[in-house]
Subunit: 244 residues, 2 copies
């Protein structure tokens, strides 16, 4: 039985200042900080943010997020190796932090890692520290209010299919679409069909070199980065909404 | 025309460590920091968090959030006075920060303030800095994963009515209910009807003295604090969900 701690730390969408004070303390207080990297070896967003707060000697790069085009077998083998590596680190250290972009409880690799560690290293105490999500950063940078008054807000990963997205867009609230890089054309079509393309904004590489924030009107057949985010604000009278 | 800046800073749900580094810098960089307070005069959550980072001399208390039972006429008069006070501060200072609990673009008073200032002090540059929301903090503290894989996530303020909540609970994704203090019994009924009460958790006063995190099974007719939050996780096989 492990008596170590694994802490999933949300490091925000890319801007190193969008980590919480609690997140910075968790990264600095850990014995080692695991950062997920692509098999291409390039520096990931989580890694870049972590290196603003933690010396490189304490950072352990583990290959997790394989290229989307990698075949299933290789993905699973890489996943097993990554889980085993984290379990090994938990055997050597009291506190292991795992840095994840966004929030560790919102569409995060950390959810799967926590389950794997529950099997490989039972007894490990698992904690999370919340982080700013891409939709929150896009709202702040674009001026699109996410939700107000009695409006609902729905998050839809486009990987769930265009039907789920269209249903959400037919409702009264704000809709946020995640992970729609390859399906930009379908997203644009769903927005047009529901009459909501005019107010929608999309963004990618928020807070980073290459940041792009544009009107959804400009979406066409060109694939966008996988980590693109779209906000279709609730239909509202009078711009930012009425008084109390 | 004003050439000042009004910055809405999300200071998180109550734990002073759940402010981002960017938020701390925005609070410290502002000439004055407005904190909304109740007409009862008691120290609010935003105020308590701000005072961890900013000297009291720079903090301006403005009565905003009147008691729920205050009549409409008095609420509107107080709102007008608050907007006028912030406009006055923008006339005297280059940068005014407004601290709001949670995130300034998610069910925040800041949205209404920004609109009022747009009318009273046109030309004011309006910005926001994202903050951790109560649902993210509750997920981290309770271990309830908000969303994974292709699941949608829907936020519903219970003030929108029980029908909206039931519809959301009938869908496949996680449902977060906000502002349900007075309607605890209706929320419990909706959870029971949709078979989702078993996994749901609610919390209030997160990160503060009096923090309460409990199973939704314990909800009864007793009114809960207005700022209670509930997470009904998506129905999932096998606990925290499957692998990649």
């Amino acid at each position: 039985m492990s008596s170590s701690r694994l802490v999933g730390v949300g490091v925000g969408p890319g801007d190193p200042e969008l980590v919480t004070v609690k997140g910075v303390n968790a990264l600095r207080g850990a014995d080692v900080v695991v950062v997920p990297v692509m098999d291409t070896g390039e520096r990931g967003r989580a890694e870049a943010t972590v290196l603003h707060y933690v010396p490189v000697e304490k950072v352990v790069r583990v290959v997790f997020a394989l290229n989307e085009r990698t075949d299933q077998g290789r993905r699973e083998a890489a996943w097993d190796a990554a889980g085993a590596r984290v379990a090994e680190l938990l055997g050597e250290h009291r506190t292991v932090a795992f840095a994840t972009i966004g929030d560790p409880n919102v569409y995060s690799t950390f959810t799967y890692l926590a389950q794997t560690i529950g099997e490989l290293a039972p007894g490990t105490v698992i904690e999370t520290v919340p982080g700013i999500t891409a939709m929150q950063d896009l709202a702040a940078r674009s001026g699109a209010v996410l939700t107000e008054g009695t409006e609902p807000l729905t998050l839809v990963p486009v990987t769930a299919g265009a039907t789920v997205l269209k249903e959400a867009l037919s409702g009264p609230g704000t809709v946020v679409a995640y992970k729609f890089g390859r399906q930009a054309a379908e997203v644009a079509e769903a927005l047009r069909e529901t009459g909501r393309i005019g107010d929608a904004v999309w963004g990618s590489a928020l807070g980073l070199v290459g940041e792009s924030i544009r009107s959804a009107d400009e979406l066409d057949d060109t694939p966008l980065p996988y980590l693109s985010t779209l906000i279709a604000p609730a239909p509202r009278d009078g711009g930012r909404g009425g008084k109390l």
